[in-house]
Symmetry: C2
Subunit: 234 residues, 2 copies
Amino acid sequence: MTTNCTNVEWLGRAKCSTCEVRNFVLFSGLSVRELDAILQPIDNLRVPQNTTLYEQGTDAPSLYTVRSGLLKLKVDMPNGGQRIVRLLRQGDVGGMETLVGEPYHHTAVALLDTDVCRIPREVVLLLDKTSPSVHGALLQRWQHLIDQADHFIVALSTGPAEARMARLLLTLGCHGSHPESLFPSREDMGALLGITTETASRVIAEFKRRGLIQIEKRECVDYDQTGLARLAES
Amino acid sequence: MTTNCTNVEWLGRAKCSTCEVRNFVLFSGLSVRELDAILQPIDNLRVPQNTTLYEQGTDAPSLYTVRSGLLKLKVDMPNGGQRIVRLLRQGDVGGMETLVGEPYHHTAVALLDTDVCRIPREVVLLLDKTSPSVHGALLQRWQHLIDQADHFIVALSTGPAEARMARLLLTLGCHGSHPESLFPSREDMGALLGITTETASRVIAEFKRRGLIQIEKRECVDYDQTGLARLAES
DNA sequence: CGTTATGTTGACCTCCTTCAAAGGCTGTGG
DNA sequence: CCACAGCCTTTGAAGGAGGTCAACATAACG
């Protein structure tokens, strides 16, 4: 039940030619001239934490590439709950279904303050036709989405709760060196793993007691990678 | 532990121009001339039941379109079990990862006698460049794979075993009118739903007793669609 | 017709959910 | 600055659902 308190904020027309994450994003491989010529209608948006970027079932005019931050893609269940089917990080793409003319299949909500580029369907389709490098990048993104979906099935929806949680934490990947990664709410963890909020809480509490993870101020400090990996293989 | 008793059987060079499932398959929209000119290296294969079409981790030179039958895509778990991540039916495509130069991500096994076309990576990449209709079809197939993966997460890996099983049966879709659809083994059902073989057996037995499904000779006869739908929403 | 895989069922126990209550953190207004 | 409200988290107790192990039944197959 996250309240959508704030709204998506327009940051300006995207300056793709100087984008520092271009190598992760769709348009790496394009010359500066190509970019400037074609990429007018691309907007750069800031999606504050807990804000909804787009809603399942609504018309899908654009797709989004993540420049920084973290988005969850969720679908609402008939019983009122929700299930998270994907996490989008830097370089990932959301709303690809726009390219085949369908409405959004998920609701996208920011788990962290997130910076995205909104690219109209027509721009992508045009570039897809004219630029082989964009085309290749598209294929790659699409494949990556499938890989992530598979990972959600195999790693995050299989086996006992402890193993799933261990795999989730490894996926989120908090190494002691740069501990900036997200530590989701128990509710989101439940929605990620297909378990209840309470079970998620219990498992996390137990991990803390065993020294497998260290948390401070709702942010991860360090994980015992090998210990978690051992748990993950049950 | 299915034994790969038989082997994939070569049926001949594919005659795509006369293929009766072209509308479902990648190359609808191509003229007969285009087809004949380009599609030499496409083979038509018969995959007998319980035969492995390709193996996870091996080099992926081609992708496959399903003309008839049913394939499961599975991945092996560290503990020895397996998890089925997708079912490929008529018109579906397996081994797309070949297009981004990766080895096969799954092991593909036929659940029924299956008829596939094997299309080398280069052919698809070429047609993808030269034919807009093939390109569009590719995008559509790719999106469909994602949709199916999402369905496995949301419908087949969420909630109690009864609800999952109900959703699986509805997905398999055995209407009384044409009851030719597969009724999988309990082991496969377990691997599809992330439950044990025994639980799958119990749930199915209970469904039979309640009159929700009718089975004869390991093939479905008819389902109580509305009854299953009610169960599916828990 | 015996042999082997696959399906069914039972008993037991573990894990997870459910329902409920208490504790902790945050922001707001007095 | 403190008090209080609201949300999230933690923890408990009870019951149920599913896992495990084992026995048995049934169907496929040579």
